[in-house]
Each structure stands twice: as C-alpha cells, then as structure tokens.
Symmetry: C2
Subunit: 322 residues, 2 copies
Amino acid sequence: MEITVREAARELLRRNHITILCHQKPDGDTLGSGFALWHTLTAMGRNARVLCSDGLPENYAFLAPGYVPADFKEEYVVAVDVADPVLLGDLREQYEGKVDLCIDHHPSNARYAARLLLDDRAAAAAEIIWLLLREMGAEIPGAGRAARCIYTGIATDTGCFRFSNTTPRSLRIVAEMIEDGLDTQPVNAAMFESKSRSRVELEAAVLSGIRYYYQGHCAVITVTRQLQERLGVDDYQLEGLASIPREIEGVWVGVTIREKDGCCRISLRSTEEADSSAICAAFGGGGHLRAAGCTIQGSPEEARELLLDQIGRALNMSPENR
Amino acid sequence: MEITVREAARELLRRNHITILCHQKPDGDTLGSGFALWHTLTAMGRNARVLCSDGLPENYAFLAPGYVPADFKEEYVVAVDVADPVLLGDLREQYEGKVDLCIDHHPSNARYAARLLLDDRAAAAAEIIWLLLREMGAEIPGAGRAARCIYTGIATDTGCFRFSNTTPRSLRIVAEMIEDGLDTQPVNAAMFESKSRSRVELEAAVLSGIRYYYQGHCAVITVTRQLQERLGVDDYQLEGLASIPREIEGVWVGVTIREKDGCCRISLRSTEEADSSAICAAFGGGGHLRAAGCTIQGSPEEARELLLDQIGRALNMSPENR
C-alpha cells in the first residue's frame, strides 16, 4: 500500500525497536538514508539499528563512527533505497515478506513492503528521509550527524549535483542544511576527492592502454585479469571507470572491457550519436540509451573485435574506417 | 565608490553602447558573467559587446555561438570578475582608468573602477550578475542563453558545488533556474566530463610516474618539458593537474613539479597536516594554507630534493623516513 510522507511519519512515531535495512553493496544513498533515520530515532529516544548484508564499509564509517548494531527484539522493519528484496543480499531470507515500510525513489520498486513511501522524482532516498524527518517534527541540526548523512545520500546519488536527476528540491534541501551549519567539505573530500593508491595505479595502466577506433569516435579501455590481480583491486575500486573513455573529446562510444571469471564484462557509454542498449542487446545484454552492459565469452581481444563490428554498424561506419 | 545592486541596476538601465571586459586567461565565471550580461542587454535592445584579451576560447563557444564583438563607439565600460587592471592583459593599456563599473566577488579587488559592485560572499561573479539582472527587471528564462551563462559561472567557480565557497544562495539561484527550464547537462558535459586526448595521455604519463615519500604522506608528480613537448599540451590542459596527488588516500602533501622556461614551477596542495604556504615561502613563493606555489631554479630532480627536505621538516619527519 502506497502511503504519504505524513502517514509514514505518523507510523514511525508510534514505533520502537526499529530495524533499518540497507541494500547490498551499499552506496552513499542507502547508508546515508539509513543512518540519518537511525541518528534521528536514537536522538528521539527510540531503539533502532541499521543492518546491511555487507556491513558498513570503511569509507562510509564517517556516517556513524564506532557504529555497532544494537541487539533487541525488533518490532518494526524499514527498508531504505531498496527497490527489490533481492537487493537485501544475505538478509533476504530473514527479511523478505517482513518489511513494514519501504522508503524509496526507484520507479522500478517491486512493491514488496506492507507500506511503501515512494517518490520517484526524488534524486535520492535521502531527500525523502529529509522530508520525513521534518514531518516527524525532528530537529535536523545542520552541524549534526543526520544532516551529514542526508547530504551524503543526495550528493553521491547526484554525482555532487552534476547528474540530470538533480532537482530544485535537492539543491534547496542542501542550501537549507548549509545555512543551518552543515559543513559539506569532509563529505566531499571523502566521497569525491579521494582515491586509493591502487586505484591511481589502475587508472594509470588503463589510460596508458586506451585505444581509439573509427576516427576517434570510439575509445576502448581494457582491465585484464592480470592487471586486477597485480593491483589487488576489487569491484568497489572499479566503480566509475566506465565513464572515462566516453569523457574524451570526440568519443561517441566509450567501451570498458573487464576480464572476469573467464569471460568479459562489457560496459558501454555513449553520446546521442549511438544507442548503447541496442549495441549490447546484440550480445544478450541491455540497459539504457546512453549506458548499457553485456557479457561476452572469450578473451578481451575477441570481445573487442566483436564489439567493434557491432559499433561500426551502429555508427554507420565501414570496417575500413575502423 | 562602492555601490549596491540596486544602484548598479539603475546605472546600467540608463546606458547604451556598453563594452563588457573579461579577465585574461578567461574562465567560466568571467565569460559566463560577461555573456549573461551581454545576452540580456542585447535582448533589451541595447548595443553591447564582450571583450577579452584572449578572445572566446573554443570550449566556451557554447556561451554565445557565433559571437563576434560589435563595432560601435562605446559610452560605458563594465568589467566582470576582474579583480585588478593587470588581469585585463592586452586590453589593460586601452582600458585602465576607463572602467565605469566593476562587478566582482574577489575580496582582493583593487578598487580601480569608478564604481564597484563587490560581494565577496558570492561564490561567483555570475551570482551577482543574476541579482543585478533581476534588479534590472530583466527576464532570465531558464531555457535561455543568459541562464546557461550564469549557470556556467556558478558551476565552474564552485567545482560543480563541491568547493567550500558554495553558498545557500548559489544553490537556490540554480534551483530557481532549473525550475524555470534550465538544462544543466550540456554545460556539465562540456565543463566537467570532457577531456582532450592529449590531456588523457598527459594524465596517464603523470600518474604512471607518481612517486611517494614519507610513508606515503607525500606524493610527487612531475611534468617534464619533454613530456609537454611530446604531447603538445598548453597551460589550459595542465589545469587541475595539481589537485591529483593530494586526492590520494593518506597523502598530506601533494606536489606538482612542472618544468618550464629552464626552471621548475611548483604547486603544493595539503591537508590540515601541513602548511603549503610556509613550505613554498622557503623558496620565495606563497599562497594559502592548503594550496600554494613557488618557482625553483634547476632540474625537476633538484627541485624535488629541495622540496622533500622542506616537506620533511614541515611534517616533523626525519630524512631516513623519506
């Protein structure tokens, strides 16, 4: 049943011993939303805890320093930014069918919770949390931890206000929090201005090996198994890599080939000159017009050849222009 | 004489044949401010033109497609985002002492103009321009070119709302323009998601050659003359490079050494663990606590050795920990 912010606020105000669930492979929005709610409920004297199948990653520890989930007999379960029970990961078995309230901004929400607070115009779930806390009559001091959590959710889901999902409301919420004492700098430094040494090495290797095709309109980067093993990089450290080739001047299709488990994971990014999802569909993949993915069996070289054929066709360019 | 937004608006409304001056090596704020004013004055039926000693660089051509400065007998001169006449570059000789109105946000403004509209809390001069155009009673349609210019000024001067100069007002002006139809995406793509091929090659080379000292708390990148010549990179393409070493986890002092004209230009960026300006002062340079620069005679290797000594002292670390 879909409910309003006001109804969700009333519901939460009547509850105690609340478990808040985040999605697996947690990002700034699910954790920011969960911990903003947790900080506020705790400050209001309620028992609450945040659970995530992958814990609280170290780079997000600043959201709730020293956090340890409380042990209590839960009476109410809230999921934040979790579009589908499958995204609960290891917590799915325990919590599927038991979520009382889901707070989300994904239009694809699977409507699995008893009550759903959904606002798909919100740039981030944290934006809805802000509205909800306000409705609950909670204080959100700008210099407090809840404000920092909300800012983290909004800033990370909008690429620090760079993506097209940034709304006037996202900006105004942040404006109000800054006015009220929020310091955005520690969050921005941690989220947008911090790279591990192995990530830097990875970028150096990948950029050095970049290859151009079709008069510079297609750029391909390759992350071999060997490179991943040498640098010891994990999935987290590969995040955002796929956007690099498309950001080069003149490039219409940016391809990232990642060797994994004996096959190749492909990420495509394109400008309006090409349809990424159509190109990936030829290999059984899919996605959006400007960002899509697929898996191709074989070596990175074989995958590249197959992709270049398909991309040439999509760009209406003949193989000799490759 | 310092004047208010209202006084500046009245002044401009009484004028025609207006020359708008931008600073040399123009950035998004001086050009965005200048062309926002130009678009609006032109739409109001006035004769106006924008002049800059370095012209309108191609990457900013979207601010005023096909722009050619009009030829007329000027009656009024406005400088935007120009803190000092020396920043007029080649236009200095012609215009020094002849600026009727300066619109600026730099606290260091040299107060060289007959009238000065200064707001040093503004993140960008474009923020002041927005207030001024409003006060003039001008329409600033969100989907129009003036709004795009104002957005460019604010977004570039705040690092797309990432820097600490971002104010509630910056965010609210942008919120209002988006609500009114502004599409931020073409500007963001051009300003923040676009790199030339040679810049990519430069980053690859520089990242590959990065060196760490003092248990990883100091990182040094070097841009040799040879590298610059091989890639044919200019000053513009080196912009922002200096922030790279400081953004690596654990790094307190990030050093960028650029070989130029037989000596080395040094850029330092630091966290709160070190004072960049004090380190640079030892070499006759200066700047801010977290960002400073200096020039050192000698080869990049010689400069690095001298800097590392100084940095070790600043970090209270002995040479054997280097």
